[in-house]
Amino acid sequence: MGMDRILVALSGGVDSSVAAAMLLDEGHRVEGATLKLWGGESDSGCCSVADVDDARRVAQQLGIRHHVFNFGADFDAHVVDPYVAAHAEGLTPNPCVECNRHVKFDRLLHRAEQLGFDAIATGHHVRRVPLVNGGFGLARAVDRAKDQSYVVHMLGKAVVARCLFPVGELTKAEVRQRATALGLRTADKPDSQDVCFIARTNGGRRTFLGSRIPLRSATVVDMAGATLGTTDAVELITIGQRRGVGVAMGERRYVVDVDVPGQRVVLGGIEDLRADHVLLGQLSWVDAPAHDDEQVLVQCSAHGDPVAATVRSGAQRLEFNQPTHRVAPGQSVVLYRNDLVLGGGIAQRG
């Protein structure tokens, strides 16, 4: 490869900075684009003014053209509004997954093609790998601790063909070394964390959701239905949660069920949190779907450990080989064959 025209999504972080530098090294014609996604208050993540400044300065340092694209309307419609609506229904969404699904890849790729680019690149820690039947798929990053294949699992083969993930081949330490060697200003910048459109200061998620939907109280009960107390915002409670329910919980009490319409939260022990299966909806596949009865590894949250499961009913049902933590409805569940991303879906109730 070489001399392709590539648009790198420059977030203002170290990974995308190094991705751009690597592609330049390989001889591509590289330009950078920073996406303005969120106009509201935020103190972290990928769309603050300070990050746009960092991205622009990195582009200047690399001598590449820098664009700023305002995809705020798409971000509101596809990420923020559904995030709020999901909480109102008692679901636990992955906004980063939806942002990648609708904005970072779909929208940016379309824009890049309009402008005559051959491909886009991002700083995600994921590897693009050749598939046995041709084309490219996705695999876990070299740096397992930083692997982000979970949040890009929804990309189809046709999209992956036009995406590059240069830093997926490096450890985070190597990324930082390269950035330092190049003198990039982002070399020591901390990793972004949390939901980028919610400011951690000023009340975080409670303030954010509370200004958009009514937060309602709920009765907290034990497995037998006995009332333990009340919590003031059932929309903020997630299955598996151990703290912040507003009831003094013993050592081993977890949220095992959240019923938003019924305004009821059930607490139980770790054994009550176990589930032997998860139901999936909105399935998507990188290439061919997983086969029924196939043994796969599944990851049920952004930083969760993979667990073994058996595919049933076209992956609308996954049966865990060992009982595991119940998956909060709304979470993305990603299927792997060893390191290869097969696809995933959204955990359903039941």
């Binding site: 303005k36 106009g39 824009r111 402008l115």
Partner: protein
């Protein structure tokens, strides 16, 4: 910007420095220097330079030299006009009552956000004066608002920065004097000074703001006319320069550059306008005929000569501007998309332009140095870019 390969069509954003301004400035960027507030020979020379510049700017704006306050640009001048005059009213009334401010719905952010900041601080109530589909202030609504209760300040721009519409400042002043004689009239002439005779147009206004880089002067310098009898409190406190209204050592080079640019602009205006009007008409007519779904946003009769503004169906300005840049055509979408999640320009929204159309807005603004070659380039590059985006 006369080059075969590029067309600078963003004069409403900033203009190339006029040679006369450059020459005047260079005098103060070498051997000549001096703090205008001092008493020795170099200081007196600097003082004389800004005094002479003050006379030029005053004459251009229909003011006396004492009425001119030099500032660090148009935004500062407008903030001083709003906050400074309202601050003086608050001090005088001592009741600390909430003041009523009317601004047009298409004011530049320098006015809009200055007003919103005053609202946030609980100092004013802010009402907007709507505009017509052609981006011209609705005088009947203004009359109603003025008659509706005490009004303290009315701000209306002379020329809109996005669509180039000329506002009826004379009528605004007359209405305010008739219905709210105590109110202060602020005129943002940042876009107007290059195109219209502000000495005539601004007659009777209390505060008039200009910015040098919109008429061939340097960036970072502007002026505010503070009419005799209009009270104003300084925003910047310090050595008491500019008759206590704007402290800080004056930027001598920039001020003499602004005066030289303004004098040249006025001297050559009649001739420049004919030339620019011809170029603009050829540009707009060419775009409208070459691009299906391309419409002129406002009829030319309502606008200054240098502004071409079109809306193009089925394209996004953000993409279009990248392709124009690739083709050497330097343009703008207006002032939208600068920040936040709002895509649609508030100006186009106030004019009632459909969002689908406003998303494809394109502003091409010409100046005295614009050429036929640049228009030719734009007429080649813009239709090709639109065709590519629609493909």
């Amino acid at each position: 910007m006369v080059s075969a390969a590029t067309a600078y069509l963003d004069h409403a954003a900033t203009t190339p420095l006029r040679p006369e301004a450059r020459a005047a400035m260079l005098e103060w960027m070498g051997d000549r220097f001096g703090n205008p507030s001092g008493s020795h020979t170099p200081s007196r020379a600097a003082r004389q330079a800004i005094d002479e510049a003050r006379d030029v700017v005053a004459a251009a704006l229909g003011a006396t030299a004492r009425e001119i306050v030099f500032t660090g640009g148009g935004t500062e001048a407008l903030n001083l006009a709003l906050s400074g005059s309202l601050g003086a009213r608050e001090s005088a009334s001592r009741s600390g009552g909430n003041l009523m401010v009317l601004t047009s719905a298409i004011e530049h952010d320098a006015v809009r956000n200055a007003a919103l900041a005053l609202v946030r601080h609980g100092r004013i109530t802010h009402r907007q004066i709507p505009v017509s589909r052609f981006g011209v202030i609705d005088l009947e609504v203004l009359r109603t608002l003025l008659m509706d209760g005490p009004v303290d300040l009315v701000a209306v721009m002379a020329v809109n920065n996005e669509v180039g519409t000329i506002q009826p400042i004379g009528e605004v002043v007359a209405l305010v004097r008739q219905h709210a004689p105590g109110a202060v009239v602020v005129v943002d002439a940042v876009q107007g000074a290059a195109w219209i005779d502000m000495a005539a147009a601004g007659l009777g206004a209390d505060l008039i703001a200009v910015s040098a880089h919109k008429f061939g002067g340097p960036q970072g310098v502007g002026a505010l006319v503070v009419r005799e009898g209009t009270s104003i409190e300084a925003l910047l406190h310090g050595g008491g320069q500019e008759r206590e209204r704007r402290s800080g050592t004056q930027n001598v080079a920039a001020i003499v550059g602004m005066a030289a640019a303004l004098r040249t602009t006025i001297d050559k205006r009649a001739e420049d306008m004919v030339h620019i009007e011809q170029l603009r008409s050829r540009l707009v007519d060419g775009l409208v005929s070459a691009i299906p779904g391309c419409t002129e946003t406002v009829p030319r009769a309502h606008k200054v000569a240098g502004n071409a503004h079109v809306c193009i169906e089925g394209v996004e300005s953000e993409s279009l501007l990248v392709l124009l840049d690739d083709g050497g055509v330097y343009a703008s979408a207006g002032s939208a998309c600068a920040s936040g999640a709002i895509h649609i320009s508030p100006v186009l929204e106030a004019m009632g332009i459909a969002p689908s159309l406003a998303l494809g807005s394109l502003r091409l603004t010409l100046g005295p140095a614009s050429t036929d070659t640049e228009v030719d380039l734009a007429l080649t590059v813009v239709p090709a870019a639109v065709a590519r985006l629609r493909n």
